[in-house]
């Protein structure tokens, strides 16, 4: 684990600026002065341990203390993954969309034809991502919250049993993916197959953003697959046991 409670936020960002969006998910903005993780978490009422595990596992993909993650309150995980959804849809996707459009507009006629293909392709990707996230936010997450509350408050009813038998999280988990096949394709189309664009700087930035989004989505899907869904399975088991 690279960062500890004594690490200064400023040093963390110097060390890895890709963590900035992760900090934002904890409502931490720039301007942290010399504050350490411990100080800042205290001030802001952030769960320090959870925060540390999240930035460390994002920073170093091999660091993934699954047992420890499973021990955090489910709400923390949900809040984090929800904020990630917002980051993708409200910020990252429009940003990439803009870049592609700008590239397209600055290209001359023969090249523009190609960029229009890329624009359409990304639009399809966007639609897929939106659909994925909407299903989670409209169906899966509310289901999780409902059964989590029932167990926490000890208000399990037969309806909850019907609910978990009808649509256990496993059904969703089995077909859950990280929505990045198209992103992967897009990267290769740009790197390998699109004719060179006149606007090199912008093409490079576009690629960088695609790589970042990919990394973030992988991290996100891992949280859902390896932490969130197993947690939900545990809750479902508790409900089953409780009723027997």
């Amino acid at each position: 684990m690279e960062f500890t409670i004594h690490s200064k936020l400023a040093d963390i960002i110097h060390r890895n600026y890709l963590l900035l969006p992760v900090l934002n998910r904890f409502d931490i903005q720039l301007g942290f002065g010399d504050r350490t993780v411990e100080q800042l978490c205290m001030e802001k009422g952030i769960h320090t341990d959870f925060f540390l595990v999240m930035i460390n596992s994002f920073h170093d993909h091999d660091y993934f203390p699954q047992e420890r993650l499973l021990s955090f309150p489910l709400e923390l995980i949900l809040e984090y993954t929800r904020k990630s959804h917002r980051f993708y849809l409200d910020f990252k996707v429009p940003q990439i969309e803009n870049m592609i459009q700008q590239l397209s507009e600055s290209a001359d006629a023969p090249l523009r034809k190609h960029f229009i293909l890329i624009e359409k392709f990304f639009a399809q990707y966007k639609a897929e991502l939106i659909e994925h996230i909407q299903e989670e936010e409209n169906n899966i997450y509310p289901y999780i919250t409902t059964i989590d509350k029932a167990v926490n408050r000890g208000t399990i009813t037969p309806q909850h049993v019907v609910l978990i038998e009808k649509n256990p999280i496993k059904t969703y988990a089995d077909r859950h993916d990280n929505v990045e096949d198209k992103l992967y394709d897009l990267k290769n189309l740009i790197i390998k197959y699109l004719p060179p664009s006149q606007n090199n700087t912008l093409s490079n930035s576009l690629l960088v953003e695609l790589f970042r989004l990919e990394r973030d989505l992988n991290d996100h899907a891992r949280m859902e697959d390896k932490v969130l869904f197993p947690m939900v399975q545990k809750i479902e088991n508790q409900i089953r046991k409780n009723v027997l």
Partner: protein
């Protein structure tokens, strides 16, 4: 040359040991990981080096189909090899590129392994990163980009659906493009289909 990383998944300790030994014949110090259950296999990343995955028949249970498919999709450049003396279940046929029958003789299995690892004398190495499509593959790509199903492609080109699937796998591996929509864009960029054809293919 070095062999790609190899993963062996089997509940049969002797089968694992045997296969590991045979791979050692091909190369002194191969990178091999062995697992006895599907759950233990770490997930693959898209940008990782391709991996050769040997999976033994006892893992082909109905419950594991989804999981195996998911594993396959994590990085389609990975090459899956079935270790079985029987027919591979239909749902899993797409996944496997090769089959090794464990009842064959040691020499036969070694030959197959050489073939799989692409170290047969004279044959082009499979892992050379070649990105030019063969004529046949270009034809298949064209039909895929036009939105045809495997069955339709098989009827159009007079090849078996199994062959269609193999071509599709190779195309994806060579180009680094996995989705049909992505392949369609590639096809237009390279003049294999026209932009109008793409429009009309309702992809």
């Amino acid at each position: 040359m070095t062999l790609p990383k190899t993963i062996i998944l089997s509940r049969n300790t002797l089968a694992i040991r045997g296969l590991v030994q045979l791979i050692h014949v091909l190369q002194p110090d191969p990178k091999i990981e062995t697992y006895s259950s599907l759950q233990q296999v770490p997930s693959f990343q898209q940008n990782e080096e391709e991996v050769l995955v040997f999976i033994s028949q006892e893992c082909f249970t109905r419950n594991s189909y989804v999981r195996l498919e998911k594993m396959y999709h994590q990085n389609p450049r990975n090459c899956f090899v079935a270790l079985t003396a029987e027919q591979i279940p239909e749902q899993l046929q797409v996944i496997f590129e090769h089959t090794i029958n464990p009842n064959e003789s040691e020499n036969q299995i070694l030959d197959q392994l050489r073939n799989i690892y692409g170290i047969q004398e004279g044959s082009a190495a499979k892992y050379s990163g070649n990105t030019t499509l063969s004529e046949r593959e270009t034809e298949v790509l064209r039909t895929v980009a036009l939105g045809m199903t495997n069955k339709e492609i098989s009827d159009t080109l007079y090849i078996s659906t199994h062959t269609v699937i193999t071509h599709r796998k190779n195309i994806t591996a060579k180009l680094g493009i996995k989705t049909i929509a992505g392949l369609a864009v590639y096809a237009v960029l390279n003049g294999i289909i026209t932009a109008d054809e793409m429009e009309n293919s309702n992809l």
